[in-house]
Symmetry: C2
Subunit: 392 residues, 2 copies
């Protein structure tokens, strides 16, 4: 196990009707004038925004609202949010929605008190130092942004999607009512489950030895997600399945299942290119990229992929040919993704294979030597090969 | 899954040499004058206290020290600590040791700014409101007090052991260096592992339905503890085994593995009687009580005990007679406890069976109707029956 520092100070308020505690939570964390930031009109039409507003009013807290956060949230709306928050003297940002609303809220919170361009944080020119506090009312299980240290924004003009990691990205509180996810279409539920699994898998496929406790907790969480996703895509109104997914989204991405180990994140970088350029759902993009990434790399650490196959998907261990077990695990994962309605090929996402070299070349380099990925570093040529596997 | 609120704000600093960050951590959390509270002379002789002191000095932080915290920490030392902390104008308590030092530190921290008798918090007459911040340098994996909301103290005169749960019990930071546990005798390592497992099991044996994600994470953690404990009792200097146990001690008791479900805690209440009266190691007491508790209750929820047997100990499922699988899991747990050198009978703890009625009668009642235990409420007669099973 590697040395690590880990802290998730987020207060989780989980369960039916939890959104009615929004006002109390904002007050507990010192907010007096709130920017409520949300996505589409469905949050208004469903009455959720109204309930959140009432909760704030009951707590004596003023607010302004800004809707319009889209999947793959844009810098353009962040600029508008920063301007509004400054004009209205907001001291707290309350995200209502999924990862897009929350990430957009975090970016606004970083930018309000920063003199320069908030994009500086996302292109590595500056680090957030003095951000507004953010809270979240979560409406879908996916990104885990409600307690992660991560925030990802797309620069619209350049179609560049970049993330920033900082402890200032942790929400003060996360209100998590699984009922709010019941109105999602099955495709979004499936995309969310795929994203959750990918967050665990980016951490799981490590080369750090002796990480048994986190391995086993992660394997348990993955098995639970697979089981719950199968139920939730068929029965979106199944509270218990939504509850498993919602809690999984949080532990998957706040490092409860990632401490003490090298992590990869190469698949996420590749997917960011797909969703930045083609605006596909992040989870659907991961459904295409991750299995291809697994097929490209598994022979470099056969026993870890075999462990995944046996412990997560219950594959039988082939002790004579463990690589067959490893491959069986990848096939089981692909079959699961198919079962819940996810794409597995670039074609299904509407991506032309002529674009592959450009996508590979533009993928963010995460290592000093110009490669991408912590555990299995990839050159643009490797990434191109992975995208060609996905072009099946 | 039940509604819940969950927050573990503790900052974990994990790994080799982590104790050298003590000064920086205290400073980060606003401490300027510290009470270092520890247990026996071994922490001094090993040089640990010296390293912690140097770290504080390097950070420009003043300190006073108080040693002497014992297993089953006593109210008498807490009173001395409160007096010292007041006299010396201490604004931060730094525990160095295991659960005893940390719990004793928490009790001191609660008492310093309280006008009444600190025991008021433990007998239910008052609730902590204004406690000093506490940090921990952990030296053994067991109680999980480094991030739990729990604190247990024994009133020496009456041999009454009582706990208090409050969010004010969460340490600001927990410094966790598995190397510090390498000098422990195997019996203490085994007691610690037993305590860790009991903390998970008190949460695991629930009757709350649809708690799959936490079930599976808990099963994974238990399997990891069992594996690591077998290594660590034979090779206390195995860093990686100690690392698994140390991280497990934290997740086992800070509710990472307990949210959203009814929990029991009856076994802990029974054990508190044993350790209060006979001063046995808490973990060793749990090794005697928990299997007896399992044998007494398993037929009330056969499928949950069978799930434990299959998923944690790898027992084969007997679909025709699941109660046999449930029993096989209890036997496997007993065999594991024996293997790591734990007692299984009251006699091995030096407890006379003539004392059983008094122990049962004095066990803390946790329910309004005078019974003990959240999932399987027990009358004193039930407790007596369990102790008679342990008197084998």
């Amino acid at each position: 196990m590697q040395n690590f520092t880990h802290c998730v100070p987020t207060r989780f308020v989980f369960g039916r009707g939890a959104e009615n505690q929004a006002g109390q939570q904002v007050r507990d964390f010192g907010g007096t004038r709130v920017l409520i930031h949300y996505g589409g009109g469905s949050a208004v039409r469903s009455g959720l925004i109204g309930r959140v507003q009432k909760s704030l009013e009951d707590a004596g807290i003023e607010y302004v609202t800004l809707g319009g956060a889209q999947p793959n949230p844009r810098d353009t709306l962040v600029y508008r949010g920063i301007e509004l928050a400054r004009k209205e003297n907001v001291d707290f940002v309350l995200a209502v929605g999924g990862g897009s609303s929350i990430d957009s809220s975090k970016a606004i919170a970083h930018g309000v008190r920063y003199d320069g361009d908030f994009w500086d944080f996302f292109c590595g020119r500056a680090k957030p130092q003095n951000s507004l506090p953010v809270g979240a009312v979560l409406t879908m299980a996916a990104a885990g942004s409600e307690s992660s240290n991560s925030c990802v924004i797309t620069q619209e003009a350049t179609k560049t999607k970049r993330g920033v990691r900082t402890e200032l990205n942790r929400c003060r509180f996360a209100i998590m009512n699984p009922e709010l996810a019941m109105t999602l279409p099955p495709y979004q539920i499936a995309s969310g489950a795929t994203d959750i699994l990918a967050h665990i898998m980016e951490r799981y496929f490590t080369d750090t030895p002796d990480v048994d406790i986190i391995d086993r907790m992660a394997e348990g969480a993955m098995a639970a997600v697979i089981r719950a996703a199968r139920v939730a895509v068929k029965h979106p109104d199944d509270y218990e399945a939504q509850a498993q997914l919602m809690w999984a989204s949080t532990v998957a991405h706040n490092d409860t299942l990632g401490v003490g180990r090298k992590q990869d994140w190469g698949s996420h970088q590749i997917e960011h290119e797909l969703s930045a350029v083609y605006d596909v759902a992040h989870g659907a993009g991961l459904a295409v990229v991750f299995p291809a990434w697994m097929r490209y790399h598994y022979q470099k650490n056969v026993m870890r992929f075999a462990q995944f196959a046996v412990r997560v998907y219950g594959c039988g261990m082939n002790f004579e040919h463990p690589e067959e077990t490893a491959l069986a695990g990848i096939e089981a994962h692909e079959a699961f993704l198919r079962e819940i309605g996810m794409p597995l090929t670039l074609g299904e996402l509407g991506i032309e294979n002529a674009d592959i070299p450009a996508l590979a070349a533009h993928t963010k380099k995460t290592n000093p030597d110009g490669t991408t990925g912590g555990v299995f570093p990839m050159t643009p040529a490797d990434i191109e090969s992975i995208l060609r596997i996905a072009d099946r």
